[in-house]
């Protein structure tokens, strides 16, 4: 998962590292008047500039990112160097030192489908945390960069959500509403979550709230049948609120643990459909609202996530079609926009192709195990 972003980020991390490292090397050994340091900086920048210009020409993504193994000797080499130096010396990074790697990071994020506004936020965070800070030279460049990136991502991803724990600790039935725009995979996701919860030992009922799209009820019926989950449905064109109300009634009467409510896909700019969703929320009274979107979505992911969050709210995000798109940028975009945790990832066409997620897991996935 997220290999694309992971590999690319590894590349840029080592570039940040290299520019920091060179910066240190070129700095005069005796500390510390800042003017001298700036002089050192300039020479380091000049030394770098020729090969870098060449590289930028061919654009960030094409460069083969060094693998984790390659970065290690670099680290070691650095540490041996550090031993011979005064270890408590500080250095300051200037904007100039980071311009190239920051631009590269920006390109990588953009190419990985992180929305422009979110990319801007991350870059700003990186800039802020790296530039002008006094750094103890003992820290390895990789650590510095990784920590900054990690913080940037953590800020973006927020806290996690433990669904199983949530269901255990709440009054039954726990009602979960699934929302999202058309074609993101709400119905399939519900089947997967249903299968997941069943495996965790909960009893589940599904409400076929998509009464609009042709064939939607048929689709969820087949899923429910295959999984042996009870489905509450009306006919096409019925009031979705009524269907879901019936599903809750059924759950209460039969002591079912969880009600999963499907809804028809709707665009956030359709006022009527959005107010229909509000009505559904009023009547269904969900304990959790999961916003479903696809990993393949680009910048629009941000726009619609914000709009859904604003109109009916969301407690968690389910990201689908992650197997289609290894870049994973939209995970970051959506999480940043609505500030709600990613709960599930859909990673394939089978019922078990679902991953329960926490932010640390994502960050570690994206930045590698050493992060």
């Amino acid at each position: 998962m997220f290999e694309g972003l992971k590999n690319k980020l590894k590349g840029v991390r080592s570039r940040f590292g290299a520019s920091i490292e060179e910066h240190i090397e070129e700095s005069p050994v005796v500390s510390l008047p800042s003017q001298e340091i700036y002089a050192g900086e300039e020479s380091s920048h000049q030394a770098e500039s020729i090969p870098e210009d060449h590289q930028v020409g061919e654009l960030s993504g094409k460069r083969i990112p060094p693998s984790g193994k390659e970065t290690n000797p670099q680290k070691d080499g650095f540490f041996t160097k550090v031993k011979t130096l005064v270890t408590e010396r500080e250095f300051i990074l200037s904007e100039k030192d980071l311009e190239e790697p920051l631009f590269e990071l920006e390109m990588i994020l953009l190419e990985s489908d992180v929305a422009l506004s979110v990319t801007d936020a991350i870059i700003a965070h990186m800039r802020q945390s790296l530039i002008g800070n006094h750094r103890k030279i003992r820290q390895s460049p990789d650590e510095i960069v990784t920590a900054a990136l990690k913080n940037a991502l953590r800020e973006v991803l927020g806290e996690g959500l433990d669904l199983v724990g949530f269901i255990r600790s709440h009054e039954k039935p726990v009602k979960i509403l699934f929302t999202g725009v058309n074609g993101t995979g709400k119905t399939t996701s519900i089947a997967k979550v249903g299968a997941f919860l069943r495996k965790e030992g909960f009893s589940v009922v599904i409400g076929a709230g998509d009464t609009y799209r042709a064939g939607a009820t048929e689709q969820i019926r087949v899923h429910a049948e295959r999984l042996g989950i009870r489905l509450i449905h009306h006919q096409e064109g019925a009031d979705p609120s009524a269907v879901l109300f019936d599903a809750v009634e059924y759950a209460q009467a039969h002591g079912v643990d969880v009600v999963l409510a499907d809804t028809a896909g709707r665009f956030h700019n359709r006022a009527n459909l959005m107010s229909q969703l509000e009505k559904i929320r009023r009547i269904f009274k969900p304990d959790l609202i999961f916003y479903v979107d696809e990993a393949t979505a680009g910048n629009d992911a941000v726009v619609r996530a914000a709009e859904f969050e604003k109109t009916i709210g969301a407690d968690g995000v389910m990201l689908t079609k992650v197997d289609m798109d290894k870049k994973g940028g939209s995970a970051i975009s959506i999480a940043h926009t609505i500030g709600k945790p990613l709960v599930f990832l859909g990673v394939g066409q089978e019922y078990e192709d679902i991953v329960h997620f926490t932010p640390d897991l994502i960050i570690n996935e994206i930045l590698g195990d050493d992060a």
Binding site: A214, E218, F267, A297, N299, D300, A301, V303, R304, D325
Partner: protein
């Protein structure tokens, strides 16, 4: 966010107005904003870089054609480059044909299939759809429900696991059908087995067209996905779906560039009739968040070309009722006043908002009142005394107050023009330069 972006793009464009020579810094700024706009519209990052580079080179190196302002020149290049990226316009032939639909899961293939059936049916052709999506539950029911409403036969068998068999039987069953549209299961580039399957389907169908269905929200992945589909079955057209959302559909551009094809249709709504032929101009405008770029450039050229308005006299501060009359006439041809005024060579003057707050009905009344004026009065509105106003009111079937209101309106316009003129020779010169690239985009 989006609005602020298109505003900054507009600001960048504005900075180019009134420049006699192409200003490198201004072009750089425009390019940067353009890049951001395109990236935000999900156009592939590398494609954006290549495109903006060629726009920049052309903008800086090509001489603006005679009589064309710098800004028009640059905008024209932007427009041309974007259009060329979209590939040649494809004709949708109305001959008997077979169309194979391909695309990712959830991109809207089935809905689009039904919409296409409707499109060809309305053109008077006999249409049939084959559903060989036997993977997703409900896919056949969905297509059948949609097609039943428009009386189009659907061939399919949800119980049959072999898609190839369905296609073969379907093709045989639809031997006397003119347009056959084959809906396939959603698949993506990384599923080799399914890619292999669609290659086989394509071999059986021998489709005349193989259209790739792309969700308007599809991001940077569009390029790789399109490439894989293109390698497998040779995509010759792209259909963008879900354009009724806020997504800009830049992913489709990446797909078009990758497959060397063009955009055929746009799906823009949930009902079966919501399918439009692709219009590059509208698409670009939406993507950049700017008004109708092509029309603005074209209409502006028309206006600039005509001798209807005595621009020089107006520059000297001589704005008479006659000029206003001509504007009102132009208004009939050209839509909202704000737009018309913005196209007239009045430079970048700030017309007060009240000037625009005049409804078209009122405009029409003003015109009638002016029809009751003499030539002299039109040339020199200061002649208008009480008795003349009374005569005009009688002649045009309006009241004295109406005529006074017209005069008030005229004076307001005049003041606005004067206000712009004030500022001495320097600003006059600047304004003269702006003639080349009058402020056409508000």
């Amino acid at each position: 966010m989006l609005d602020s972006l298109s505003n900054s793009l507009k600001d960048a464009v504005k900075k180019l107005a009134g420049k006699a020579v192409v200003d490198r810094a201004a072009v750089d700024e425009l390019i940067r904003d353009l890049q951001r706009a395109l990236i935000q519209a999900d156009v592939n990052v590398r494609l954006v870089m290549a495109l903006s580079q060629s726009i920049k080179t052309r903008a800086l190196e090509e001489e603006p054609p005679k009589g064309m302002g710098v800004r028009d020149h640059v905008l024209r290049i932007v427009y041309q480059e974007l259009v060329s990226m979209m590939g040649p316009e494809t004709e949708v032939s109305l001959k008997p044909q077979t169309i194979l639909m391909a695309g990712l899961q959830g991109s809207g293939k089935t809905t689009t299939t039904a919409k296409l059936c409707r499109y060809f049916q309305r053109k008077g052709l006999k249409v049939g759809a084959i559903c060989c999506d036997n993977f997703r539950p409900g896919a056949f029911a969905q297509l059948q429900t949609l097609c039943q409403k428009i009386n189009v036969p659907v061939f399919g068998d949800p119980a049959e696991k072999d898609a190839l068999k369905i296609v073969k039987e379907g093709m045989a069953a639809f031997r006397d059908v003119e347009v056959i549209i084959v809906d396939t299961a959603g698949r993506h580039a990384l599923e080799d087995v399914l890619i292999e399957e669609i290659m086989q389907i394509n071999a059986v169908v021998k489709a005349d067209h193989r259209w790739l269905v792309i969700d308007a929200a599809l991001g940077q992945g569009a390029r790789d996905q399109a490439r894989r589909f293109h390698e497998a079955i040779g995509i010759d057209g792209v259909v963008i779906t879900k354009m009724d959302g806020t997504a800009k559909g830049g992913g489709a551009l990446s797909a078009v560039a990758e497959t060397n094809s063009s955009i055929v249709f746009i799906g823009s709504g949930e009902t079966i009739d919501d399918l439009e032929r692709f219009d590059p101009n509208g698409f670009i405008s939406r993507m950049l968040g700017m008004g109708d770029l092509k029309a603005l450039v074209e209409r502006a050229e028309e206006v600039m070309g005509g001798d209807d308005l005595d621009v020089n006299a107006m520059m000297k501060g001589k704005f008479t009722l006659k000029d206003m009359y001509k504007q009102l006439e132009a208004l009939n041809k050209m839509g909202p006043l704000k737009q018309v005024l913005s196209m007239l060579p009045l430079g970048g003057m700030n017309v007060p908002n009240e000037v625009y707050d005049v409804t078209s009905v009122k405009m029409e009344r003003y015109r009638i009142m002016m029809d009751s004026m003499t030539d002299d009065e039109m040339d020199d509105p200061s002649l208008l005394g009480t008795s003349r106003i009374h005569r005009i009111a009688m002649g045009s079937g309006s009241s004295v107050d109406d005529v006074r209101e017209l005069i008030k309106y005229y004076k307001m316009m005049q003041r606005a023009l004067k206000g712009f003129k004030g500022g001495g020779r320097f600003s006059m010169n600047r304004m003269m330069k702006q003639f080349g690239g009058g402020d056409k985009l508000l």
